[in-house]
Amino acid sequence: MKLSSIPTIAPSPLGGGGPQPKLPHFVRDWFATRGWTPRQHQIDVFVKAAQGRSVLLIAPTGGGKTLASFLPSLSELKDSGGQGLHTLYVSPLKALAVDIARNLEHPVREMGLDISVETRTGDTPPAKRQRQRHRPPDILITTPEQVALLISMAEAPRLLGTLRRVIIDELHALAASKRGALLSLGLARLQTLAPDHRRIGLSATVADVNALRAWIEPQSDDEGADELAALVEGGGGATPEIAILDTDQRIPWAGHSARHSIGDIYWAIERARMALVFVNTRSQAETIFQQLWMVNEAGLPIALHHGSLDATQRRKVEAAMAAGTLRAVVSTSTLDLGIDWGEVDLVINVGAPKGSSRILQRIGRANHRLEEPSRALLVPANRFEVLECEAARAAVIEGAQDTEGPAELKLDVLCQHILGVACAGPFHPDALHAEVKRSFAYRRLERALFDKAVAFVSTGGYALKGYDRYAKLRPLADGRLRLAHPRLAQHYRLNVGTIVAAEMVKVRLVRRRRGGLEGTSALVGGRVLGEVEEWFIEQLKPGDTFLFAGEVLRFEGLDGLNAMASRSSASDPMVPSYLGGRFPLSTYIAGRVRAMLADPASWGHLPPQVRDWLSVQRWKSRLPRQEEMLVETFPRGSRHYLVCYPFEGRLAHQTLGMLVTRRLERMGAQPMGFAASDYALSVWAVRDLSLMIGTGRLSLQELFDQDMLGDDLEAWLEESHLMKRTFRNVAIIAGLIERRSPGQEKTGRQTTVSSDLIYDVLRSHEPDHILLKAAFDDAATGLIDLGRLAQLLARIRGRIIHQPLDAVSPLAVPVMLEIGREPVYGEADDALLEEAANELIDEAMRLI
């Protein structure tokens, strides 16, 4: 990504005499003056682009991808700059746009080209944005949201009609998200406005290359095979060296803190030039960072980087990394993408890798020189994670990918896009449907669904009672639809985009000053440390301590949308349990872990403690074969437990837990609760489950039957908070409800209606509404992970093995330790209310 760090080594495999002459002279000369040789993929991209093809370039970071993508534009603009916008470069990272522009300016200047390069992001001043609409640069570096804004402008045809090239960066990450779906629609629009433009997609290695090739290429009308862009592969570089931390300490049975290996992590940091320490959640980042500083006897410069920290703070850390003044940065996925940090020579991944592609991407961040292997250290935080790390290491060595495919048919995004198109000018539904179908993400969009989306945009699309009088789209005589009022366009521009952040509260650092009236202390100061989810702050009482921005803070109180916090001397804070940044365990890694469990011959690599754990499990209970699901039942305390091991990730297990509990209830087992981990599900009940299964009163085949995805699911979804949360996002993206604007006071009697209430009403009166469909589709692949659950139920049909036990088994211990630790999101609320009320009664009735 960083153009100035193009390696000076790497003689081209074909030498200087092969295809190199195909690059124009001024480019070859520039390479020569820098003492560099163009890489093969840079030449290949240029050749394919010159032939008029769109191109997907797959190469690891540090491979000179960005320059490769710009060479065709530079060549075309050499003698014909200044004739309108020629190239649009779309990056998912706003912060990166400026770096890319700066890095592009060097070669542009050195090649003696008269080409203007500018950026346009949410941070660009209005005056500059205004000017860009009238006098656009040759090359504009921007974000998917800005593309949506550009095409919604009345002058879009003139402004964008001159486009010749569109470059999409980090396509593997973008395409999988709703931002990608929005951009996919934007590209279809650009295809209409500038039919001659060609595209270049830049991507890391992915599981399904053809999906991305098709994503880049405009799709045709016929229902046959997808149209594919040309493919250029940059070669993978050396196979990374991956070690799994072998510790003398006792490996924990559960938890994600990795506290036991802090000493080992520090030791590894001391021996590296610069280490990136990746974790999965922000709370892990805070904890690891704090603990590293506790053992930081050498006072190494170690920094912290995660999405909740204030942006200027993050930029400072990034600058220090670029300058090479740091020895380690503890980070969440915020550093997964982006600039190459030249000096990073070790990646430490704390916790489970969760996916093969994710860990490959992270390890690639240490890919300083392409030809040298990256070095990585995996640090498992518990015993199951040891298995997961082993599975990930094997997958990485094979280069196995398990990336998600592109997001498709996101209906909420479609609704937003339709309104955006209308903001630019009248459109004909027939033409827009045909146009939308040229985008990869919507190539299979049926007309009926498209019409529903148009109806939603116009009047809400309700069956029984319409808002025809207040329609946002009005028909013209020629069948086109126009925006009813210009005010709607302003409104659209404020709400554009698909990123729906949780409601956030600023964390402000204040000092307590003694004095004032009667010993009260005033709060002074107020530097913003960052932002944290509102629900987290709401559960704090003044005086509670929590870990944030690497410090232990004392919560002082809430002032509007500011959480006031002061420095605390407490050493054992109540750690923030941010849910943000959790990743699902990939199906691929899960399958490998199951295979490993089933095959004791493969345990050779495992640490002795873990081998012992599995051996004792085999002796006390049993180990399931790869395609089997083991179900153990045993009594403990006054309860009876059922533990099963589906290995389908926490979200799917949570859904399974909800549904299984309902069924157990019906079967008379009196279930009381459940806990889920990435690997297992534990349910507890009043009745003796071993006995019920043994006497045939409870059938496991029936309990885990696929029909649970029918009525039981339906009944649960009615009250599921996860569905409501998903619906809120969909309603905001589609434009049904507004984002809460900053500073807006919460009065309780506000004029806005809570999305939960809308969900309830809509569900009972119009269950087929397009937004409910959109929410269900999202939840099915997201928070309730129905896809995985359905796969699981199909996989284990007839393959459930039951093992009654006298006591808890070794394999069950980790999920048993999760009980009470991880709140199951908002389902047993009434039980909790009753519990709270009963506790009160107990207290009142106690005799002493």
Binding site: G460, Q539, Q750, T752, S754, G826, L833, A836
Partner: protein
């Protein structure tokens, strides 16, 4: 002010079906039964009380382009009819803000308008005016009043700081308790034996935490209890158990 005198209870049952127990709330000596829907039954007066129905809140922003599902009036009416079925009162007393805005009655569709009309067949309806609906059209049916005296207790929309015995709405009380790191936020009744503020009944109504300032004026030094409405039962908590 429209006074009501006490009527001797008749033989019909006042027990709500569905919920296991009756939740009794006393205000100024009146014995009242809280319903899971957020309504309040006064058996001695054969009256069902509801507050803040906010009919047509869903359609209130349509002109500005907010096309919320226009089914909130229907939902609210359905819940209301069910409560009437359960308690079989002779009269329905709506404690103000029955419509979300002045134009609300005009926006009613035919089905909902008819449903409000049939309410009058089952019960005598009395609409107390509120700040959202200071004037209600006569075509609505029923009687319209600013306040009603239910025996010793005054029924009005906005609670009055100096009042002795009153039942009011307006504030949309919700209470929150924190349990095992989770916040449970529910609509609630809030009262101190002399005054009771009812939860908002409407399908699209939000809530205001009972620890916020407007309640502090009415219940100084946190001398109140809340009756939180759960999915299966109503739970009573003293004020020191709830969180902001």
């Amino acid at each position: 002010m429209t006074p009501f005198s006490r009527k001797p209870p008749t033989n019909s049952s006042t027990k709500p079906c569905g919920s296991s127990e009756l939740t009794r709330i006393r205000v100024g000596g009146l014995e009242l039964l809280a319903d899971l829907s957020g309504a309040l039954h006064a058996p001695d007066y054969r009256a069902l009380l509801v507050a803040d129905l906010h009919f047509e809140k869903g359609s209130s922003g349509a002109r500005r382009g907010a096309h919320l599902p226009p089914y909130d009036t229907r939902s609210t009416l359905k819940t209301l009819m069910e409560a009437i079925e359960r308690h079989r009162p002779e009269r329905l007393l709506a404690l103000g803000d029955s419509f979300h805005d002045r134009a609300g009655p005009e926006r009613l569709d035919e089905i909902d308008r008819a449903a409000i009309g049939t309410l009058g067949n089952a019960v005598d309806v009395m609409w107390i005016t509120g700040n959202h609906d200071p004037a209600l059209p006569a075509s609505l049916g029923g009687r319209i009043a600013a306040e009603i005296a239910l025996g010793p207790v005054m029924l009005r929309h906005e609670p009055r700081a100096g009042a002795t015995w009153e039942i009011a709405g307006h504030l949309h009380p919700v209470a929150q308790i924190t349990r095992r790191g989770r916040n449970l936020r529910r609509k609630c009744f809030i009262g101190d034996g002399g005054r009771l503020v009812m939860p908002a009944f409407g399908a699209y109504t939000g809530g205001l935490n009972v620890l916020s300032a407007p309640f502090g004026v009415l219940f100084p030094e946190r001398r109140f209890r809340v009756w939180m409405i759960g999915g299966r039962a109503i739970h009573v908590f003293p004020s020191d158990r709830i969180s902001p």
